[in-house]
């Protein structure tokens, strides 16, 4: 691995200062499950590695019924899926964080890292988009809030500029009668990268018979994780019915623009966009109606 210097940052301003000074030569380290491999393989280079997981703002995990959920960018998966508030209020996040890697990966891997690696198949991303997550980004002079679906430019590329640091995600509180789920298709049971995945969040009316609104996002079917507003629009205001779900799944399928690679063909991924959307919706509806 190339040589670099290591700075364990303790405050946001300290990290922002170094990132401003070093620009693209600085890389942020949180869980390291991607970055250390990328540096070792020469896929990324760094003069300075800034360890950001000692910064309090990147380690917060807090929920309030009014403010919703704040997840620091450097909070590892195991803390998220062991958190009672996340388990009670954001079960779709449990779906995603429990299937990223194995136990030893979940002990280190973070949502901030998953998002900044910007793989189209990143498992935390579709469900975070479905939950309407906003990214809090800080640089030396500015704090910005960016909706997660606007964060990605292409494989491995995000809107983050040199000098900017992803600090946390903010998720609004769950709406009454809502439910969400994340599912991925892989050819084995565990420990794989999604061929196609879907995250869905539905809001039902009081009778739990009609859709009020829905948000659906897909993984591994486009150069970036893909938010599909058309699929949500196909549900809003309609009765919870096979026809409405079918229409949403077809809308997701139409939006998918996958490639063929070692994990699956474009044709298979098109089909899976339909199947996984349908299944994620059914699970989200079940949860909105009080199921687990």
């Amino acid at each position: 691995m190339q040589a670099f210097s290591y700075v364990p940052a303790r405050t946001l301003s300290e990290a922002a200062e170094i990132l401003a000074r070093e620009g693209e030569q600085a890389k942020c380290l949180s869980g390291g499950t991607d970055l250390i491999v990328f540096l070792r393989e020469g896929r990324r280079s760094a003069k300075v590695v800034v360890d950001v997981k000692g910064i309090p703002e990147l380690n917060q995990l807090s929920y309030s019924p009014k403010e919703g959920l704040t997840i620091g960018a450097a909070v590892p998966c195991y803390r998220i899926y062991n958190d009672a508030q996340v388990i009670a209020n954001y079960p779709g996040l449990i779906d995603a964080t429990t299937l990223i890697g194995g136990i030893a990966i979940q002990g280190r891997a973070t949502l901030g890292g998953n998002v900044c690696t910007a793989s189209p198949a990143g498992d935390s991303i579709p469900i975070l988009i479905a939950y309407e997550a906003t990214c809090i980004v800080v640089s030396r002079n500015v704090t910005k809030a960016i909706p997660l679906e606007k964060f990605f430019l292409g494989p491995g590329r995000t809107v983050l500029q040199p000098g900017e640091l992803l600090v946390a995600f903010k998720l609004p509180p769950p709406k009454p009668n809502s439910g969400a789920a994340y599912l991925r298709f892989i050819p084995r049971n565990e420990m794989d990268i999604a061929v196609t995945s879907a995250g869905a969040m539905v809001v039902l009316d009081e009778a739990k018979a009609n859709f009020v609104s829905a948000r659906i996002a897909l993984g591994a079917v486009a150069p970036t994780p893909l938010f599909v507003p058309e699929a949500g629009a196909a549900l809003a205001g309609r009765p919870v019915s096979d026809e409405a779900i079918e229409a949403a799944a077809r809308a997701a399928q139409a939006a998918a623009r996958p490639i063929t690679d070692m994990r699956g063909s474009a044709e298979q991924r098109k089909h899976l966009s339909y199947v996984m959307t349908k299944r994620a919706l059914l699970k989200a509806i079940e949860r909105a109606r009080g199921g687990s």
Partner: protein, 163 residues
């Protein structure tokens, strides 16, 4: 750029200070600097679990941790699981149940299994299989490994009751 950094960590209940380059992984430091060669390098990218250690109570792959990140940490390696005399029940059962052939994956499996049993002394077979999904063995298949972990868990529960 290759300036070495002084790191102090508690490793296997012993406070140790060492010099390492920021680019060195914790695995390299354990093996090449501290001569703790129990943790193995398999894939060096987080897929195989042969380098597993317990860091601040959390199971991690030491190839995906920088040595400098260990500053102030408490780390347990396979060497720390081995008692002064005899063997840990996990080690004993891996032998008795023939849960290894070449042995490269064994330290990682035992460290991972220890982390599981610390948290859950009475896991189901499903829970053991799920927990060990990040450890690869290319010789034996997994049945004997899973059985050894379940057998060791039984012994450890019995020891705890009589203790």
């Amino acid at each position: 750029m290759s300036n070495k950094v002084l790191v102090t960590a508690t490793i296997n209940d012993e406070e140790m200070s060492f010099l390492c380059e920021p680019r060195q992984s914790l695995l390299e430091v354990l093996r090449d600097v501290l001569n703790l060669t129990g943790a193995k390098e398999g894939c060096n990218n987080g897929n195989c679990g042969a380098c597993a250690v317990i860091m601040n109570g959390v199971l991690v792959n030491s190839c995906l941790v920088l040595g400098v990140e260990a500053n102030g940490a408490t780390i347990t390696t396979i060497e720390g699981i081995t008692p002064k005399e005899g063997l840990h029940p996990l080690q004993q059962k891996f032998l008795e149940d023939a849960a290894l052939q070449c042995g490269i994956c064994t330290p990682g499996f035992i460290v991972a299994a220890k982390a599981l049993l610390d948290k859950n002394p009475n896991p189901t077979e499903h829970e053991v299989r799920f927990w060990l999904a990040g450890n690869l063995c290319r010789c034996t298949g997994y049945d004997k490994i899973v059985r050894a972990v379940l057998d060791a868990a039984e012994i450890m529960r019995a020891e705890k009751q009589t203790a």
